[in-house]
């Protein structure tokens, strides 16, 4: 079955981002197709290459990137939400005249249309909401 996930919560803000990546891993391990993970709201921070949690905490970035490397999972960070929050690709950083880029390898910036597209092409959408 074809799944897409929507992730709203920033990594290390609570448990949601970790639940999402664990669920994503379980999906592909069970042979389902993960059409897209769409990072929206504070979820865009998942795409930051600069996160450096202590060694004894979860490396969520590495887990998302492994899904990309091993299964080509489409990791789309909403470009409008990311601009507001400071997650930029090299070309966006140049265009917006910001001093650096921080979008991690494996993630791409995309428009909200990619969320609509995911609903059209997936059998199931699962949303991972923020912490309170």
């Amino acid at each position: 079955m074809i799944f897409s996930l929507v992730v709203y919560s920033a990594p290390h803000a609570g448990e949601s981002a970790a639940t999402a990546v664990r669920f994503a891993r379980a999906l592909v391990d069970q042979g389902h197709r993960l059409y897209r993970v769409f990072f929206y709201g504070d979820g865009v921070h998942s795409g930051s290459a600069l996160a450096a949690p202590p060694q004894d905490e979860q490396d969520l970035l590495g887990q998302w990137q492994a899904l990309y490397r091993e299964h080509g999972v489409d990791l789309v960070v909403c470009i409008a939400a990311a601009q507001r929050r400071g997650v930029l690709s090299q070309s966006e950083a140049q265009r917006l005249e910001r001093p650096a880029a921080n979008l991690a390898e494996g993630f791409e910036l995309g428009g909200l249309g990619q969320l609509a597209d995911a609903t059209a092409h997936s059998d199931r959408i699962v949303t991972f909401g923020g912490s309170a």
Binding site: V6, Y8, Y40, G41, D42, A80, A81, G111, L112, G113, L115, A116, D117, T119, A120, S122, R124, I125, T127, G129, G130
Partner: protein, 120 residues
């Protein structure tokens, strides 16, 4: 046949970015001819209050996003009646030009008609 997508808007405006970002997602989907249905419930019904002056806190009014809905083909929205009552908000106060407000009592029944639900 079941409809494709229902967007559920549950957050009050301004206090949580999801209110604005949810409406932006609805407009973007509609612009791609994948117009979702929209349900305002819980604190989401506060998005529909008239006379919001968000400039007072240096934000843009959400009303502009709501008023754009008909231009993108969203001509009716569902509003949870119980949520209105709990918050002592009369549905008469919620007029948005070009949009028909449909009060819903059985939100569970409404939700079950869709293939996908996006929560905002």
């Amino acid at each position: 046949m079941s409809q494709i997508t229902l967007a559920i808007c549950r957050h009050a405006p301004y206090g949580n970015a999801l209110a604005r970002e949810g409406l932006e997602a609805v407009l973007a989907a509609a612009a791609m001819d994948q117009t979702p249905d929209v349900l305002f419930t819980g604190d989401g019904i506060f998005q529909l209050l008239p006379d919001q002056a968000a400039g007072e806190i240096d934000q843009k009014s959400l009303h502009r996003n709501l008023q754009a809905l008909p231009m993108f083909g969203v001509e009716q929205i569902y509003v949870c009646q119980r949520s209105l009552e709990e918050r002592a908000v009369s549905s008469n106060r919620l007029a948005i030009a070009g949009i028909n407000l449909v009060l819903v009592q059985d939100t569970g029944g409404l939700i079950s008609r869709y293939q996908h639900v996006l929560s905002f």
